[in-house]
Symmetry: C2
Subunit: 302 residues, 2 copies
């Protein structure tokens, strides 16, 4: 899994700082998560091959998470896109996009599917043989979901050299990768574990923005490889966080500890602090493996 931060700030786009958007590359997919104004420019700036994006996940309908969506959809049309595009987001997102396209008589010449969300329970949005995406219901001023991206455990890795040396039938290789024991050319049987290695561990990424401190999510995100949790404020401004239904860096770290995640990524910073290291320092008092989201940063999730 490779996460590219396209924008890590809250509120408004600035010359040197974009609001929230991320690209997650996982098992051949390029998932776009949130799409603030300017996201398409960030995609170009950081040289993401964004024609490969087929699924866009929008957490909620505040501008700093979705005002760039209609522009990206239009740009796909201008670039001659033919592949289907799936948009997952709160109810109303379809009307907002289609009304604007209609006013400009700018209908897409590719298929655009909207998957509108209303449920307050986790909901499976996408699944294939390698990965699944599920909503993480959050607690914000308007209806908001985070997203849980989970790899599925791959096949066992065949040690071809060893299989050959033990005279294993080649026609059985695919079954062996799925866990079967291995018939040999001379009529014997080799234990699967002798000629295969465990698959790479399945990784997972939980994206949680925007949200108040909301311990209800802990069960769902326990043991994820990496958690992005918004930290709009520092703890000294917790009253503001409560009022606006955002979180502090300390609260994000407390969620990370309780959920035993591998790595905590912070972001959605308020512009009032100037120094992002303050967020890391605060979170580090509770949780060690903290990474600061920054525009353009690429984070390996392992």
């Amino acid at each position: 899994m490779k996460l590219t931060i396209l924008g890590c700030h809250s509120a408004t786009p600035r010359w040197d700082a974009n609001p929230t958007s991320q690209i997650l590359e996982v098992k051949g997919h390029l998932f776009l998560i949130d799409c603030a104004e300017g996201t398409q420019v960030q995609l170009r700036r950081f040289k993401v091959k964004f024609s490969r994006v087929k699924h866009i996940f929008i957490s909620h309908l505040h501008g700093d998470h979705f005002f760039g969506l209609v522009g990206l959809i239009s740009t796909f049309r201008l670039l001659g896109r033919e592949a289907d595009l799936h948009i997952y987001g709160p109810k109303g997102i379809k009307d907002a996009v289609l009304l604007q396209l209609k006013l400009g008589k700018s209908y897409t010449n590719y298929k655009l599917f909207f998957h509108e969300l209303e449920s307050k329970e986790p909901q499976l949005l996408f699944e294939d043989d390698k990965v699944s995406v599920t909503t993480i219901p959050l607690d914000h001023r308007i209806y908001t979901n985070g997203f849980l991206f989970q790899e599925k455990l791959g096949e066992r890795k065949l040690d071809v050299e060893k299989a050959r040396s033990l005279n294993v039938e080649m026609s059985y290789y695919n079954k062996i990768k799925k866990g079967a024991d291995a018939p040999t050319k001379d009529g014997g049987l080799v234990l699967n574990s002798l000629i295969t290695l465990d698959p790479d561990p399945a990784k997972s990424y939980a994206y949680c923005s925007d949200t108040a401190y909301y311990p209800r999510i802990i069960t769902q995100i326990t043991n994820v490889t990496a958690l992005y949790h918004e930290s709009t404020f520092l703890q000294k401004d917790q009253a503001l966080a409560v009022k606006t239904k955002h979180s502090t860096a300390q609260e994000a770290a407390q969620i990370a500890v309780a959920a035993k995640v591998g790595q905590l990524i912070l972001g959605h910073y308020s512009g009032r602090y100037g120094n992002y290291n303050l967020f890391k320092e605060e979170a580090n008092q509770y949780f060690e493996n903290v990474t600061l989201a920054q525009d353009g940063k690429v984070i390996d999730i392992n």
Copy 2:
């Protein structure tokens, strides 16, 4: 009049090139003309004091002219704006903006007035004692207006030294500036022209984008100080211009010649050419005073 180009390109925003938006400063007003995605960032980048913008004119509802509007309106709210804001644009613009604000429960805390346009005849949109703004109906794929910004002729300039030396009554100064002859303290009368100078000539700016070659506008823009006329294509691609209802640089220049304008500003370039000087060279074959719009360029209109 001072014109700041915030974006001069057609179609899609890119890392180093923004679609159409301009700021016209005239007689204390800061008028925003069109508002592509990224306009608010350009306003910050070029250090425009954009809280002073009270009137926004949107030519048409293609994304490269209006997808930045809702974001700017939201940012004004986050910055604590209190002043009224007036939006002038095609019918439908109000629904598009308000639907998005409503979905985010992000209503403005300042007064937002929409002036929706449908007329195919020139229409006075704004007028005070110093300036007026009128639509210029254009010919594009969807309903589109240009805008004509006209200064009003100011008062005559009083030569105070000379008025004093001729013993003119100070209490008459205001009337003299309006053209009255001047009573003197000893009961005489001085001709107005002896103690006043002509006011600065009234300047005017015609913004015409997007449009096919459309000679019908010539009457309305005759003798303007400066004409911005879109030139999406070069003449060798005139067939494309006809098909998409855009203009070539040659056509823009021919309009400038026929309307006897003082200065022609070109913009809304297609990305296919790479070298913007080609637009100037083509237009210069017909009209001498040609300026290329470029992001960040400030143009004095005199």
